[in-house]
Symmetry: C3
Subunit: 460 residues, 3 copies
């Protein structure tokens, strides 16, 4: 992370003597939960800490070794002040402005919901104390995280502010506390940082909605064809098939469709560029948004695929299946109907394709783990995500075709004139694969590549 | 990582000329394994290196391009000296003290076991050469890691020391060598750093003991009920069931109980706070320790769950099972006993619950991968670990209840008056879920939230 | 990452005033794709950007708020210039040299293939403009990555250069843009950085070749024994077994052998050291190379093992298997042949060993995820990779022996005098385990340890 010299440090750590230097003193405004935890951690790390409080003599338990005094007095002593106060109570800081001039103020505050105030808390603070260097930071941490040290979701600290020197001082403190710091630029970014702790998987919303929508609609479609149809036409109650059989029809279908949805936007983009003949026109927003949630779409699809695998593997231990198999065996009595090699070929290839598809799928999924993808070069990453991804799609589609096999022509499979669900599932993948092949045609491919390297012509 | 200006650097890299500057010269005391590897790496990275040795003329093979001279002479040339010597041999450094004043000494030493000496090696070194700036670092690296560059468990380097400037110089060297540096504060942390390479999964000890203990006791319990009982009462030898059937009874039970153990401390904490009416009293140590090993408990539980899944999925290919199924089928002769829909419903839901529980469990497990959890905001992380975690617990408990079903009332299942193991396994989860529901009651929840936001009242 | 003071910054951000300082101005040569994206990102982050172009008035769409002027004019304004031009067009920079003296030039260029030119682009640039400080960086990023901010494979930025101050300025910019920077030393490293984006899993090549080779040869071996043999001798067409049965014979064999290949080099090294009586002689290159691809070998082996698991678990739902089971049952008619406890013991232990081996294998695999292994101390990492690894090997080998059982002596299993494949697969593991035991013998172990700590004797 970026830094400068800070004059203070020089005086604090005289070079040339080896004795442990007088540890740096930091000031904390506010003796609340966060303030206490922060102070405790600072003292543990070897800083000295002083609290500024409105009522220095009645502010409850504080970490051992911390002094507490009036805001003004405390501000005098330190060059860096943590403002652990709620925005509602900032106003009084205006009166302290003279004591805070030139100081670094760290705004750690969060709001209870988004857009509660016209301006970010940190910007508001800066306006109140124009003479100080406000840095927004630490607000993504919980008090618990401070008490127990960095771990899991609590290692990273974001900061933003206008004075690099001020930011640098905060970077140093945060690093000493064991956090890794990410500089998000000027104080304009404060609002973004303040919204961060409030968000809950924003980029997963859309993919999740798609997944739920698809699952629901296919579930009802299958319910009608498999349960209600049976009941109406033959009066048989097969409702028990809901728990496993139906689920195991819906999951693979949703998985396959969502896997396609990862590749559709890329194809649309390619054809847009071919059509426009340039890459410098921005894509429509919906396409951009779609592209940016491909990863989530893919991971959800992988989740559904895994469920499909598990549901398939428990088939033989199901009561229903064992019963049916026994019944068949018994019905055959003594002579057994002979063995159909073609059937064996088809079913075995069907399973093989499924397994290989799933295995490849896992590989693609694993490489989208942050730590793995960070270790890959961009070329390697896109090779896996695109080449292997399409191979996965091909295997899975082929797997489904083998499942359907000759049923496509078989009238009995069109109950109430509705096609079996897996046929519907096959539409999109087939289209995607065909268009992908189109893009791979030498002539098209050459044109596309030229367009995408368009910048090569630029310096002329 | 935190840094300052280092005067040396200015002279070393004159700004304004673009010619490659004279590379910085570093000194290494000790021509042992670590010293050689370190020197080699430094030279590869473009530093110049000089060795200090007691016998400059007979110290075995050294990296190409490295000079070797007396300790004193070597120390003169460099401003930074790596002490790659065993603590036992430090003493002679005292005599070198005058040559080392103002130098940065990097102590890379480790001990063979903990608490071998009253003070940390680095502190001892500092005492011997008070005029120098001792920095503890690189001790977590193996010579092999240095030879082959940072990789896997060898990317991170810790350091601590009293002089920030000195630390900064080490940070720079380490970074140039391709390591990421974590500053652990003042030299007081040296002991901790020296113990680090000696530790072997300290935070896993307790959870592992719990797991082993539970497995053992439940194994014997099941052994008695399933094998010994059979043998004594019916004289049947069912010992072969140990390998799979018994294992597959023990694993899920242990998994379920350990999953609960992740949530018990949280509940205890909640009720403690409700009872005390404050959150500022520290929790008893045992509770703190328990809370800090929840992650390990959970991961072990996930491991057992995975074993349970695998053991369940191989059931149908087992000789024993195939034999029994065939026997049943044959026994049924020509008429088949009719199909019980209720049974199908129950077993299928039983499997579904298990699969969904396991799937959720995997999600929770994946998000506890460092790189994944780092990418989550604190709110997102706790949402998954707590909300999804409890959902997992619910599914798994329900899964077990469906397994038991009506056996609870069935006398025959109480062999020798002992309840079947899964009933014992259900006690804790049921209690946990009930108490969780209590905590979620509006009145309780409101009180708890108020207590946890206690700090909000503080500034009044 | 390492850094110094940069005089520019002082003037740019006067300390003491809190008003947002005039943002730093950066210059970009080249208005191509990369140049545009870079500029856009810089402006978003709060920098000011000016483009240098040969035709300032006709250079297509540029990011909002960016000025464009002649190269010379643009260079005047900024102290840092991004050269987003193809190497082919560098020549004209020579004429600009006077305007570029003392400036920091960031070379972001890549080549279309390796060794296209005698010297690295960055070195060539430095030669053209000797008065400037050339820094190689950003070349591993794609324009797409710049437009959409750091993510996945795009968070890390490498840089190298001769002037630390210059590097520092680039580090700061990169960090502000949200990238993490890795300093790779002097400009000599430029070629390496320029080759980086061109490489495609170099360290996976060898292991993949081994895997493919082994799979192919064993596939044909099994094909001959299981399909062709059947056809020739009994005229039966069992070709359908290729898809699952054969695959499921090849995968575990390849997996087991490759798992061994991870441990062979370690053993060879050990015996080499024992033989030489020293550890300071370098290993032959082939051994070094072998050692460095152990991780990839292991992960591929894990992949094959997983396939083996999946192929095994679908066995019971295969048409062929169901058919055979039914046939057997029917053939048994009314009396069932009695139950062989020994058989049950053997098969169950066989499955158990397999499951435990696979589970351990997964643990070893998971700990080789970058983020996990980074969280481990060296001792912990080697404990898992070596101790647990050997345990895995043992389980898997035992698993295979149980599979063979008494078939070893059974003549009928030597079709056409060829041993069954699993016997071939057992050779290497058995050898490895035996030799490992040898190394663990107290006498050998003591000697080896002494040799490996050889350095301890050095300071005498």
């Amino acid at each position: 992370m970026s830094e400068k010299v800070k004059p203070e440090s020089v005086s604090l750590y005289p070079l040339g003597t080896a004795a442990a230097p007088e540890p740096e003193l930091l000031c904390i405004f506010g003796t609340g939960d966060f303030g206490r935890s922060l102070g405790q951690r600072l003292l543990q790390t070897g800083y000295r800490g002083v609290y500024g409080s409105r009522s220095p003599h009645s502010c409850g338990p504080l970490p051992q070794g911390a002094q507490v005094m009036s805001h003004a007095a405390a501000a005098q002593l330190a060059s860096l002040v943590f403002i652990c106060i709620h925005r509602e109570n900032y106003s009084f800081l205006e009166t302290l402005a003279p004591h805070l001039t030139g100081k670094v103020l760290v705004d750690v505050s969060n709001n209870l919901k988004k857009d509660l105030y016209p301006e970010a808390n940190a910007e508001y603070l800066q306006r109140l104390v124009p003479g100080a260097h406000v840095v927004k930071s630490f607000n993504t941490l919980s008090a618990w995280a401070l008490q127990n040290g960095p771990s899991d979701a609590n290692r990273q600290v974001y900061l933003c502010g206008n004075s690099p020197e001020a930011k640098q001082m905060v970077v140093e403190v945060a690093t000493k506390l064991g956090f890794t710091v990410l500089d998000r630029g000027s104080l304009y970014a404060a609002r973004e940082l303040e919204d961060f702790p409030l968000q809950l998987f924003p980029e997963w919303r859309l993919p999740l909605r798609v997944a739920v929508g698809l699952s629901a609609s296919f579930f009802f479609y299958v319910l009608i064809r498999d349960v209600i149809y049976e009941y109406v036409e033959q009066g048989k109650d097969t409702s028990f098939r809901i728990m496993v059989s139906l689920a195991n029809k819906v999951f693979p279908i949703v998985s396959l469709i969502m896997l396609c949805l990862c590749y559709v936007p890329g194809l649309i983009a390619a054809f847009l560029q071919l059509y426009r003949g340039t890459k410098y026109k921005r894509f429509p927003d919906w396409l951009d948004r779609w592209m940016l949630c491909r990863k989530q779409l893919g991971l959800l699809a992988l989740g559904f695929a895994s469920l499909h695998v598990l549901y398939t593997l428990i088939i033989p231990i199901r009561y229903y299946v064992r019963y049916r198999l026994a019944a068949i065996t018994i019905s055959q009595k003594n002579q057994t109907d002979e063995f159909v090699t073609g059937m064996a070929w088809r079913t075995d290839s069907y399973y093989s394709m499924g397994i290989l598809g799933f295995a490849l799928y896992l590989v693609v999924g694993i490489t989208s783990l942050p730590s793995v993808s960070n270790a890959l070069s961009w070329r390697e990453f896109s090779f896996i995500q695109s080449k292997l991804g399409y191979l996965t799609l091909f295997f899975c589609t082929f797997h489904t075709y083998l499942y359907g096999w000759n049923k496509f022509l078989n009238h009995s499979s069109y109950k109430w004139y509705t096609p079996p669900p897996y046929m519907l599932a096959l539409v999109l993948p087939s289209v995607v694969l065909v268009f992908k092949l189109l893009v791979l045609l030498p002539c098209v491919d050459r044109r596309l590549t030229r367009i995408r390297q368009g910048w090569e012509k630029d310096d002329k």
